[in-house]
């Protein structure tokens, strides 16, 4: 019994010692983090006003493995390399808006000279962006606006303008009659909904005899998109076009149309131009898709912050602007997909130096 007690005591002592070591290690780690915050928080290299040496920018996006955002990264990195800026591209691999905002806040705490954000949805950024701008750290939005408009500049696709060629191609494919199905990504996602909220009223106005179904949501799952597309084909004998708002939705819908042998009756149109969509265009399974300019938007964002810091430094609060600078789009079709012009609207899967 005494041996048991002794063993228990030794074991307990060992546990206490382990706990103490763990506590000290954790405290040290936290202290390190805190001191890191303090150091970097005061390390803005443009404080002197106009100095652009050793600038450090952080670019935050969500779903950073998606080819659209990979292309943004390529554009930002190339421009940063040209200007001699240290740029980090960070964010969650999912389209979790809350995780993206957290990533932005964490990055902001490291004291960058400028920040760029590609918000997956436009709400919820006020508490993160405004304080930075007031501290003299310029923030530029790409791909989506911020609500309220706290950024100094915004570079996004003009969805109204990009809807025009979509209206034309859908009108051409349907001859103004029949049903159009719509497969979107998810509810409450403005980046996604912008791709049909301008398009649907424009289609209804131009082609009043078209029936446009409510959006179905596939959550970026090709399998779900396939299920939806096959059900739309079955349930709507006069279905003529399926419009998919992004790549995985288009891939799923293409598979369903092919499986149903309905390629002659049902045409597929989509938004975005990731590599899978380009392959579908080349094989004729996709009639048209809208290519955006994520590379150019990101490049402009880096340049804009650089120019601002060159002129103003970071001593004073950065003025916010609700002005939106549209970036170009191109309707890619099987006819033009191989052209030089179309090449600049196709998304990349890796950047120089990857």
């Amino acid at each position: 019994m005494s041996q048991l007690t002794s063993l228990f005591t030794r074991s307990t002592r060992r546990k206490v010692a382990s706990a103490a070591v763990a506590t000290i290690a954790l405290t040290g780690l936290l202290a390190g983090c805190a001191s890191g915050d303090t150091d970097s928080g005061s390390g803005s290299s443009a404080d002197s006003g106009g100095s652009t040496e050793d600038l450090r920018f952080i670019y935050i996006a969500a779903l950073i493995n998606d080819s659209f955002f990979v292309t943004q990264r390529c554009g930002a990195e190339d421009k940063a390399r040209e200007l001699g800026i240290d740029l980090a591209f960070q964010g969650p691999t999912t389209n979790d808006a809350a995780a993206e905002i957290k990533a932005f806040s964490a990055a902001a705490a490291t004291g960058p000279d400028g920040m760029i954000v590609a918000p997956f949805t436009n709400a919820g950024w006020g508490g993160s962006v405004k304080p930075l701008m007031q501290d003299g750290v310029p923030v530029v939005a790409t791909g989506q606006t911020l609500e309220p408009a706290d950024a100094m500049a915004t570079y996004i696709t003009d969805y109204l303008e990009s809807a025009e060629p979509l209206v034309d191609i859908i009108g051409e494919l349907t001859e103004g009659e029949g049903t159009v199905g719509l497969i979107a990504t998810s509810t409450g996602n403005k980046t996604d909904s912008d791709r049909y909220t301008e398009l649907v009223p424009a289609l209804e106005e131009e082609y009043p005899d078209l029936t446009i179904l409510d959006p179905e949501y596939a959550e970026n799952s090709s399998a779900t998109a396939s299920t939806i597309a096959s059900a739309l084909i079955t349930g709507n004998p006069d279905l003529k076009v399926i419009y998919a708002t992004s790549g995985p939705q288009a891939v799923g819908a293409a598979s369903a149309i092919k499986a149903a042998g309905a390629g002659d009756r049902v045409k597929l149109v989509s938004f975005d131009s990731n590599p899978e969509q380009i392959e579908l265009l080349k094989s004729g399974e996709l009639a048209a898709t809208v290519g955006q300019s994520p590379y150019e938007a990101a490049s402009l964002a880096v340049q804009t912050i650089y120019d601002y810091l060159s002129e103003n430094g970071s001593d004073e609060a950065v003025p916010a602007s609700d002005e939106i600078t549209p970036t170009p789009t191109l309707l890619l079709t099987p006819d033009n997909v191989e052209s030089d012009e179309a090449a600049t609207f196709q998304y990349m899967t890796e950047c120089e130096g990857d």
Binding site: L63, I64, N65, D66, S67, V70, T93, T94, N95, T187, L213, D214, P215, E216, Y217, E219, N220, S221, S222, A223, T224, S226, T227, I228, S230, A231, L232, I233, T234, G235, N236, P237, G247, P248, V251, G252, S255, A256, K258, A259, A260, N274, P275, E276, E279, S283, T349, E350, D354
Partner: protein
Amino acid sequence: MSTVTKTRHDETVSTRKPSAIKRLLTNNTFWIFAVDIVLIVFFTIVSIDNSFFGPSNLRNLMSDSATALLLGVAIAFLLGAGEFDISLGANLILSSVVAGRIAVELAPYGLAVIIVGSLAGALVTGMVIGLFNGLIVTRMNVNSLIATLASLGIVTGVAFIVSSGTDVTGIPPVLQDGVGLNTVFGIPLPFLVAIVIWGLAWAALKYTRFGLHVLAMGSSRTAADRAGLRTKAKITTLFTICGGLAGVAGFIDITRFAATNIAGHTQDSLSAITAAVIGGTLLAGGVISILGLLGGVILAVILANGLIVIGVSSYYQLIIVGAILIIAVWLDHFKKGEKSLRLFTR
């Protein structure tokens, strides 16, 4: 076809053998299929030209259920043994990425070589992930829910590294035409593969010692240990086999879409657990219903397809799916009561 290892003490003891209709009404899987049939009839009547039950849509339903059935079999066996695996969706993604990359490399060598190479790659990847999970659970004594939650992150991360963070493209279309969208006697090939594996799973559960041991471990791990079963080895084996099933599901995925979908499949494990539990497999272990699993998978597939076929708006779909799931599970419990027995056999 459901296998139960424990006695239900709350059921009325009778010296007479219960009638066929009584046995049917108290069957674990009867009600789930009853709900399926009611929904099929409803969607068929309401759909334009009864297109819901047309041959084209039946093929859609079968194709849609292939992956869910494979993951469902895996999760049913794990639940039956008292374990969880919520990394099956991530396993599917990594397996599909490996299979996709192999398929791209083997593109010049013809369909047979592509199939063998990419299927082997997916299967081995899935089994390695399953083995990894099994070893963590059995050798490090980490609860399987936590272990597979951790491996979900690890496996997803590895999938992103292997794929350079983007979907694998350039998968030869011949794989899609020859396997994913191919049919045999009008039945989609992916569904045939899934239903054969489902049948083998049923046979393994009913006729093999391994199936019996799985249920025994799920009923009481301690008792199984004391009975001399090498439970750690068997649980590791089970995880490995189930990982292999997720690998096959990953292969089927790339054959259907000729591309990987690394942003998808986040809900696959949860959907598989739901289908298995609705079908009568117990979360607490010890009970597996393979036939019921088929009913649960069919229910999910019918709802996902049928509500769109009849034109229900997506917001209402969420409410209707939730309500029908509650009704399906409630009926399963309801039939167990004495009152319902009297009601239905009157």
